[in-house]
């Protein structure tokens, strides 16, 4: 309720307005994306072309699209806000919370996804564990994806309302119609092209903030000194040295939660089993490109904190009222009032307005719009694939001609978008639904990773083991969430202390430890049930499981062409960055 009140307060004001040059820049973007939809329509006649972009993308395109599918505006603005709230610790979600998992996907898991010729992650589960695991994963993924698209849509409309004073209905319908048009016409190909464009646009629109901000602050060392002075703590500028205990850092988490909860479970779950991102890599044109794409994606991902985390840190150091010279204090959304009119989540737009005048402002806003739209497009294209292949094609109409499935893909894009619009209006009327939808999404990720990784690495895992393990992990995740989110304040605190194993744990630690437990439960149940049931013959596991598969050579003829070599380079840079910002 408080959150809703804060949002209503936000809706009654606007931060800035667009000049004619900004509008030209925004219209140029819309013109290009719609043109792309019409342009590639001719190359999306078969289901493989529509749902997997013809499996002809190079490693660079698949890699950029892979990392860009996750770089939505909700994510950009949210993590810039988190950087203000928690300091440099937010960087963990871009480094340890992404890089090892992306490299693991590329080098270890991608060969199985790719040579099994699966069209989706639920499709792999069907090949490995049968219909039960596929059905559970497909329905939960389809349902959550379409809800997330609606949340994205509403978030875009709200951001445009807050920054520019645009009507919410206008933003929802124009955004949805544009995305529906270009995805319906061009399928995944259209979505991928727009994701690559969006990646370039985000850098073009947002990179000036850290550049000018660091000039204003007098360099990184001076910025750190200002943050320590303003925040009164060194906890905001160290990546690892404050993670010894929950009480020593602003996030209220310890290294166990970050390394095992975030780095080993949530991150691996998201980057290796969420079909929204894996679909991009499946579009690669050969095995080497499929292995290389996540490695390239990881290299780009390491640079993203520059445009997301640094603006949040800059706000801690230099964001002052231009009239009074006083430091502007940002607060949580439910604490916004006349004395503190800005929330953490507005830090990115505030910094954009601080440094960017007409023209550059339009570029920054276009980057945000592009991020929102490609986020919606990613969700809708993944939904239409899973719906058509793993629900409609698996349970409703198994033997239709290929053209029928392409038509179903186009229609499910439009219908999916209409459901998303309905979700957006639902969220508009009950803002707390947004939090629930985001939490719901996290329920499936950790257990799904347990199921997929055991399926790929352990020949003894059986169909019943996979299905019941996934079910048990998901149910336990939902149960823990209910346990820690409902009841009196005392009950919630006590529940959190039990889940995170410390009375000093904060809600962020809750998510990490819930993921860890649900993964362990999934793995334990899968192993126990597998030993009680009959395994599949090894001959049936060829192409699906490590040890039962002869992995074909990826075609690399020199060390420079080997994905493993570049994965080592990225890993070395990753370790160096963590030491530098220790």
């Amino acid at each position: 309720m408080q959150s809703l009140a804060a949002m209503l307060f936000l809706q009654n004001r606007q931060l800035t307005h667009l000049s004619p040059v900004d509008i030209i820049i925004l219209l140029l973007y819309f013109a290009v994306v719609v043109f792309i939809g019409f342009y590639v329509k001719g190359s999306t006649n078969t289901s493989e072309e529509f749902f997997l972009a013809g499996r002809e993308m190079t490693a660079w395109i698949a890699g950029l699209s892979f990392v860009s599918a996750n770089l939505g505006s909700l994510e950009l603005m949210g993590w810039a806000g988190s950087a203000y709230q928690y300091g440099i610790l937010a960087t963990h979600w871009y480094w340890i919370g992404a890089i090892p998992a992306m490299l693991f996907l590329g080098i270890v898991m991608m060969p199985f996804y790719y040579i099994s010729k699966t069209h989706s992650v639920p499709g792999y589960l069907q090949l490995r564990f049968g219909e039960g695991a596929r059905g559970l994963a497909a329905i939960s993924f389809g349902f959550m994806t379409i809800l997330m698209s609606g949340v994205n849509m509403y978030a875009m409309a709200l951001v445009m309302k807050v920054i520019l004073g645009w009507d919410i209905n206008f933003s929802i319908w124009v955004g949805a119609a544009t995305v529906a048009l270009y995805v319906m016409l061009g399928g995944l190909r259209s979505a991928i092209i727009n994701e690559v464009l969006q990646f370039v646009l985000i850098w073009a629109g947002a990179a000036l903030i850290p550049i000018l901000g660091l000039i204003e602050a007098g360099g990184w060392t001076n910025l750190k000194a200002q943050i320590v002075h303003n925040a009164g703590s060194t906890g905001y500028v160290h990546l690892w040295s404050t993670l010894g205990h929950f009480k020593d850092n602003p996030m209220g988490i310890n290294w166990v939660g970050i390394v095992f909860g975030l780095g080993a479970i949530i991150s691996f779950g998201y980057w290796t089993t969420d079909f929204l991102v894996v679909q991009r890599v499946l579009s690669a044109h050969n095995l080497r490109a499929a292995k290389m794409a996540p490695v390239l994606g990881a290299a780009f991902k390491m640079a993203v904190p520059l445009i997301v985390i640094v603006p949040g840190l800059l706000a801690l150091g230099v964001l002052r009222d231009p009239h009074t010279g006083q430091l502007i204090h940002l607060v949580g959304e439910n604490q916004v009032n006349a004395a503190h009119p800005y929330s953490y989540n507005e830090v990115l737009p505030l910094m954009l307005i601080r440094y960017c005048g007409p023209g550059l402002l339009g570029l920054g806003i276009t980057a945000l719009v592009a991020g929102f739209m490609s986020g919606m497009a990613g969700n809708v294209s993944a939904f239409s694939t899973v719906w058509t292949y793993d629900i409609y094609g698996a349970y409703m109409n198994k033997r239709a001609p290929d053209k029928h499935y392409v038509l179903m893909g186009r229609w499910s894009t439009v219908i999916g978008m209409l459901i998303s619009i309905g979700t957006a209006y639902l969220v508009m009327n009950a803002a707390s639904i947004m939090d629930y939808v985001q939490a719901l999404f996290s329920f499936f990720i950790a257990p799904l990773f347990g199921t997929v990784i055991l399926g790929m690495l352990w020949k003894r895992a059986t169909n019943w083991g996979g299905f019941l393990g996934l079910l048990a992990g998901t149910v336990s995740s939902v149960s823990m969430w209910v346990y820690t989110n409902f009841g009196t304040a005392e009950h919630k605190a006590a529940a959190l202390a039990k889940i995170a194993l410390s009375r000093d744990a904060q809600p962020m630690a809750n998510d990490m430890f819930r993921a860890l437990w649900s993964w362990l439960i999934c793995v334990a149940v899968t192993i126990a049930v597998s030993y009680m049931t009959t395994p599949r013959p090894e001959s049936e596991l060829n192409g699906l499981v490590y040890g039962a598969t002869v992995i074909p050579h990826d075609g690399a003829t020199s060390i420079w062409q080997k994905p493993a070599f570049w994965a080592c380079v990225v890993a070395a840079v990753f370790v160096a960055l963590n030491i530098i910002f220790w």
């Binding site: 040059v21 013809g54 002809e56 395109i61 960017c356 007409p358």
Partner: protein, 80 residues
Amino acid sequence: MAQGTGRGESLSIWFFVGIMTLSYGIVLFPYGAWEWFSGHEPATVLHQLHPTFWWGLLLLLFGAFYTIRYRPRSGDKDIA
């Protein structure tokens, strides 16, 4: 071959990247020059560094490079 847009097409995905950033450079670079030389700088922090002008120039050069490098050539469609 036109990368990313389909086997039968001639415009590469990188051409779209180029044309889009080139368009933005064409809009921002002269606008930044007008702001600078006519004294219409916005009241933003560090406006004295003329970020619109320099950023517009950078986008112009980046976009021009990609547009020329990946421009459709005769025969691309057949090769693809």
